[in-house]
């Protein structure tokens, strides 16, 4: 069998790119990560592979492009079946997709309402962010991971977003661990996995990036 060519058009700080890298790592797959300069100028390959959104991540499987991180992770799971990331039964899969969709719709934007705010972060933004994490805590219940005993799809969709939490906590002046201890425990559990630990950036570096981005946007 000829070697597969797996490429990700990447940005180190993007939680969406991290999802794809974690999924590939969980499957034991080797890939090339090509860093995109999202401020300086996107590559022709990126613009041609993702003409609709022009965003990272783009996953190229033998030069065929796939876009949108959740869809890419789903594709990786379907193409390389071991170990499975989604539960085996249809209902379990529907629940996993529901929570992935909830995370996609809510977490990054709610965090953004805190780190993008000028001056002190609005109380409402912090309340909303915590509320979302509490809803995820309810979904976790007393399970180790979202679908049960094993690290899977929803964990992969959620954990990269937590690399931005240090920045959000500093700018919002609160701690996730104090407000959401169950979620915090889940985060620590995920960070023990090699696939997560080697992909997630140093939270201090993310914080520096957010500060720089705020200056660029004239928020500081």
């Amino acid at each position: 069998m000829s070697k597969e060519e797996l490429v990700i058009l990447d940005c180190w700080v993007s939680p969406f790119c991290m999802r794809v890298k974690i999924a590939l790592s969980e499957k034991g797959l080797e890939y090339e990560a090509r860093a995109e300069d999202l401020f300086g100028g996107k590559s022709d390959l990126l613009l041609n592979s993702n003409p609709i959104y022009k965003k990272v991540p783009v996953f190229l499987h033998n030069a065929k492009p796939l876009c949108e991180s959740t869809i890419i992770v789903n594709y990786i799971d379907e193409t390389w079946s071991s170990p499975p990331l989604l539960p085996p039964c249809s209902y379990g899969r529907a629940q996993a997709r529901f929570w992935a969709d909830f995370i996609d719709k809510k977490v990054f934007d709610a965090g953004g309402n805190i780190w993008r705010s000028k001056g002190e972060a609005p109380v409402e933004a912090k309340r909303e962010f915590i509320e979302i994490l509490k809803q995820l805590e309810e979904a976790l219940g007393d399970k180790d991971f979202f679908s049960g005993d094993t690290f899977g799809f929803v964990d992969i969709i959620a954990i990269p977003l937590t690399s931005w939490f240090y920045a959000i906590e500093k700018l919002g002046n609160f701690k996730v661990e104090d407000e959401c201890p169950i979620f915090s425990a889940w985060m620590k559990r995920c960070l023990k996995r090699e696939s997560v630990a080697k992909v997630l950036p140093d939270p201090e570096k993310v914080y520096e990036f957010v500060i720089m981005f705020r200056k660029m946007q004239g928020i500081e």
């Binding site: 796939l66 594709y75 899969r93 529907a94 997709r97």
Partner: protein, 218 residues
């Protein structure tokens, strides 16, 4: 044991219509329960506590929410006929991408048109561009699904009942700008699953005028 399938529904919702088309395609018998979005039932709040929205499919007592997730579920569980998603993972990822694109764009942009505020003109331009992009993806295929209706067709076709509203509110010129899409819409209606489920465009227009009034009062 026979399956018990219940749909928490709102007759005008394009999202609920997606589910109805999918159930019809698979020949599934189901019970439809109408919701009032300004007075939601205990059942809806219990079955979808996170979003409190329709549609919700309740299959043997277990709820599934979010229309595209429901359609995927239906396609997987009742896989004996009318496959909606392709079997090839790459083709499937493309179908998921385009349905997601439709979800990100159509309802939100359309809302800015029928709410008729200052951003209506801008929304009109965006809507036409979005439809043109979708039309390019259709290309010369009969359906997005190829020879028969598929996942993307199911995701998009309910919104065709809203074209009359978009035209009447803002004179969008969809037919002139996107003739292939209009032809596709007509073709879709030749399928019984679609024609049974689709709402009447005039009734939708009336509904949206009422909804706009209620929203403005809030």
């Amino acid at each position: 044991m026979e399956d018990e399938v219940v749909l928490l529904d709102l007759w005008a919702s394009p999202f609920a219509i997606r589910v109805k088309i999918a159930l019809e395609e698979k020949g599934i018998k189901y019970e439809c329960k109408q919701e009032d979005l300004f007075n939601k039932s205990h059942l809806l709040l219990e079955m979808n506590p996170i979003h409190k929205k329709i549609p919700v499919l309740i299959h043997n007592g277990k709820p599934i929410s979010e229309s595209l997730i429901i359609v995927q579920y239906i396609d997987q569980v009742w896989n004996h006929k009318s496959p909606l998603l392709p079997s090839d993972p790459y083709q499937r990822s493309q179908a998921l991408f385009w349905a997601d694109y439709i979800d990100k764009k159509i309802y939100g942009i359309g809302r800015r048109i029928w709410m008729g505020k200052e951003d209506q003109e801008e929304a009109k331009e965006e809507l036409i561009q979005t439809f043109k992009t979708i039309e390019r993806e259709l290309g010369d295929k009969l359906y997005f699904g190829g020879e028969s209706i598929g996942y993307v067709d199911v995701a998009l076709v309910p919104f065709t009942s809203w074209f009359y509203t978009y035209e009447t509110c803002a004179n969008c010129g969809i037919e002139a700008a996107c003739p292939k899409l209009i032809a596709w819409a007509k073709r879709c209606k030749e399928n019984e699953s679609v024609s049974k489920a689709l709402t009447d465009p005039l009734e939708i227009y009336g509904y949206l005028l009422q909804l706009k009034k209620r929203l403005e009062l809030q």
